[in-house]
């Protein structure tokens, strides 16, 4: 059997110009009175893709999901699913199903009847319904709970019922609104991987809304980072993290140190920037901004090295500072280092060796340094 990972690794329909998107959101705007929840948004989602809409609350991600489900109609623009426009099609005629954040289980029905509800609406023969329900409950490992009412289940079990119910009709697309938001951390992490496996197994297209970047990074093939009703960047988790296209994305996903400065020179794939703090930086950059242009270099904390001696390439890509704060997380330690000009840099180091006492202590004078391809030059 081919591992799911190997399937995932080779999966990149968005990079292939010949592949047709399964869901196409075209210039969709949604206004509630004066408030624009979704602003001229366009994006494509491909068959079997696990797509995440990521953003802070109020960024329009849930509204977009609700438009896909049919609970809201776009003010302008259109959504195309499998070649068919969804305009004017009510939720009960769309080949998509949704898993609600509150799970929205029917309180007066047993688990079994909750799962069977959608199938009954389709007029499926009774025997087939029973078979499908049993199959779905087996999939989410709830066979023993078929006759229970939702209030006799734990939060995790309810989440599974909601999942089984939304999958029972074999929808072309499953929409998930903060599917794991109500679970505690341990259960959430487990369920993330279960959802991924399930999606691969069933070969479905998943669109998940989440505000949890770790969740999005773990599960999704691609992430759309949203802000104020617009998509800021759509890319794979790795691209989003390592090559953010803007200061917003760099700052929103993970931790980052941003050095502002002016371009001194740019040649053969590298630019030189003099930061406002006076650090000369040489960084790989595909673009060639003009001399004197403002530039911002973003470097993730784990790509910053800490040493007691100045590195060989000093003073380029290096600066002296003192350890201001230490956060010990177990697997790694986060240092806040205050540079000469007062700027505080975040640097993290993996605790690969068991050491109860860290050699680096408070107030110690240290050198931070980074490689020429450790950071990304932001365009704005």
């Amino acid at each position: 059997m081919k591992s799911l990972g190997s399937i995932r690794r080779s999966f990149a329909p968005w990079a292939d110009p010949a592949s047709k998107p399964f869901i196409s959101v075209k210039n969709v705007t949604k206004k509630f009175g004066d408030f624009t929840a979704v602003d001229d948004l366009s994006l494509n989602i491909y068959t079997r893709e696990f797509f995440a809409l990521l953003g802070a609350s109020g960024c329009g991600k849930s509204t977009l999901l609700r438009m896909l489900a049919g609970f809201e109609q776009p003010t302008s623009g259109e959504i195309i699913l499998d070649g068919q426009s969804l305009a004017g099609i009510p939720p009960y005629r769309r080949p998509v199903n949704m898993m609600f954040q509150s799970y929205a289980l029917f309180p007066h029905m047993t688990v079994e009847n909750n799962v069977a509800f959608g199938l009954k609406q389709d007029g499926m023969p009774k025997a087939d319904i029973a078979e499908r329900v049993a199959q779905m409950l087996k999939l989410v490992k709830l066979e023993k709970f078929a006759k229970r009412k939702p209030h006799h289940l734990s939060g995790g079990q309810r989440q599974r019922v909601a999942l089984a119910r939304s999958l029972a009709k074999r929808p072309k697309v499953l929409l998930l609104d903060e599917p794991l938001g109500a679970l505690d951390k341990k259960l959430r992490e487990e369920t993330q991987f279960e959802l991924m496996d399930l999606q691969q197994e069933l070969g479905l297209t998943f669109v998940v809304v989440t505000h949890d970047q770790e969740e999005a990074m773990t599960m999704a093939d691609r992430i759309a980072v949203m802000s104020h009703g617009k998509v800021v960047q759509v890319a794979t988790p790795a691209e989003i993290y390592e090559a953010p296209n803007s200061r917003f994305v760099a700052d929103f996903i993970g931790d980052v140190n941003i050095f502002d400065g002016k371009v001194i020179s740019a040649e053969d794939g590298y630019i030189r920037v003099e930061t406002t703090g006076g650090i000369p930086v040489r960084m790989a950059s595909p673009d060639k901004p003009g001399n004197g242009a403002t530039a911002a270099v973003a470097i993730r904390p784990e790509k910053i090295r800490i040493g007691r001696q100045p590195p060989a390439h000093a003073p380029v890509n290096a600066a002296e500072g003192e350890i201001w704060d230490i956060g010990y997380l177990g697997d790694m330690t986060v240092f806040h280092i205050r540079l000469k000009d007062g700027k505080v840099i975040k640097a993290s180091s993996l605790n690969a060796v068991r050491a109860v006492e860290d050699p680096l202590g408070y107030d110690q004078q240290v050198w931070i340094s980074f490689g020429e391809d450790a950071g990304v030059v932001l365009k704005d």
């Binding site: 489900a69 609970f71 009960y92 005629r93 509150s102 289980l105 509800f117 609406q121 209030h151 309810r158």
Partner: protein
């Protein structure tokens, strides 16, 4: 358990005595052997048997029950719809005015409601009788239903309706398969409330009645003016029994389901955190 002080015992006895002494007296005297209402002459159920031969009273009772059944049912449908509209469509123009107008009859003096309905029926030339009483009762009981159902709907998680739509149920199916079963206890107690209100209404019925449509309270009232008979006591006792039974059943049903529902919802929301 706390110890009851004399003061508390006295207040409870006085309070309940004040409320129920007249009723208890009425019930006791309905079993009186004597024809004189105020003189006890031994236990008897003869007034109850005699009721069965009083065609006037039986007719009135039959009219009353028909009016109550029909008006309570219509009022429940209308009141539930009004409650749905008020809770669901929070953004329509004039919502405050509309909700105020639905509740106004709750505090409106019955004389005014009765008089205005009478004027309306006269103005449009509606023959007064069974149907005008029924219409009048629908008018004044639907707001009670609306209040009861609305309070239930406020704690109703609307995403379960969306889930039903999402799973392919039409709005009509969703209402009957999801919304109605969940709010059923409130709708039922609304119906019972409307039924009992209609059953013992005198003022509005008197205004809107016509020939051949005499309800029990009206009949009793007119007979009492000629003197209280043990027969009246007997029929009143039966009425009290019916109303008490209705109220008790309604409160038990609502209480039990409501407690269950609240438990469910609390658990559900606890899961959301």
């Amino acid at each position: 358990m706390e110890k009851w002080s004399r003061f508390n015992i006295a207040s409870v006895v006085l309070g309940f005595g004040f409320l129920y002494l007249p009723i208890v007296l009425l019930v006791i005297f309905s079993f009186n052997e004597s024809k004189l209402v105020t003189v006890w002459a031994g236990f008897s159920t003869k007034w109850y048997t005699q009721l069965w031969h009083n065609q006037g009273l039986l007719d009135a009772a039959w009219v009353t029950i028909r009016v109550a059944l029909l008006s309570a049912t219509c009022a429940t449908v209308l009141g539930t719809l009004a409650a749905l509209a008020l809770v669901r469509y929070t953004r329509f123009r004039g919502r405050v005015l509309f909700s105020g107008m639905v509740y106004a009859p709750l505090v409106m003096p019955e004389v005014i409601t009765g008089l205005s309905l009478l004027l309306l029926f006269v103005a449009i030339g509606f023959d007064r009788g069974f149907w005008t009483i029924t219409l009048a009762h629908i008018t004044f009981t639907m707001c009670f239903v609306a209040v009861v159902v609305q309070s239930r709907l406020l704690s109703f998680d609307q995403s379960i309706e969306e889930a039903a739509l999402d799973l392919g149920a039409t709005p009509v199916t969703t209402f009957f398969a999801i919304t109605l079963p969940v709010i059923a206890p409130a709708v039922f107690s609304g119906w019972i409330l409307a039924f009992t209100l209609s059953l013992d209404d005198l003022v509005i019925s008197s205004f809107t009645t016509g020939p051949g449509a005499t309800t029990l309270p009206m009949k009793i009232y007119s007979q009492v003016r000629l003197g209280v008979t043990p027969e009246i006591n007997a029929i009143c006792t039966i009425l009290i029994g019916i109303v008490a039974l209705g109220v008790i059943v309604a409160s038990i049903v609502t209480k039990r389901r409501e407690v269950q529902r609240e438990k469910d919802e609390r658990a559900a929301f606890a899961a959301i955190g």
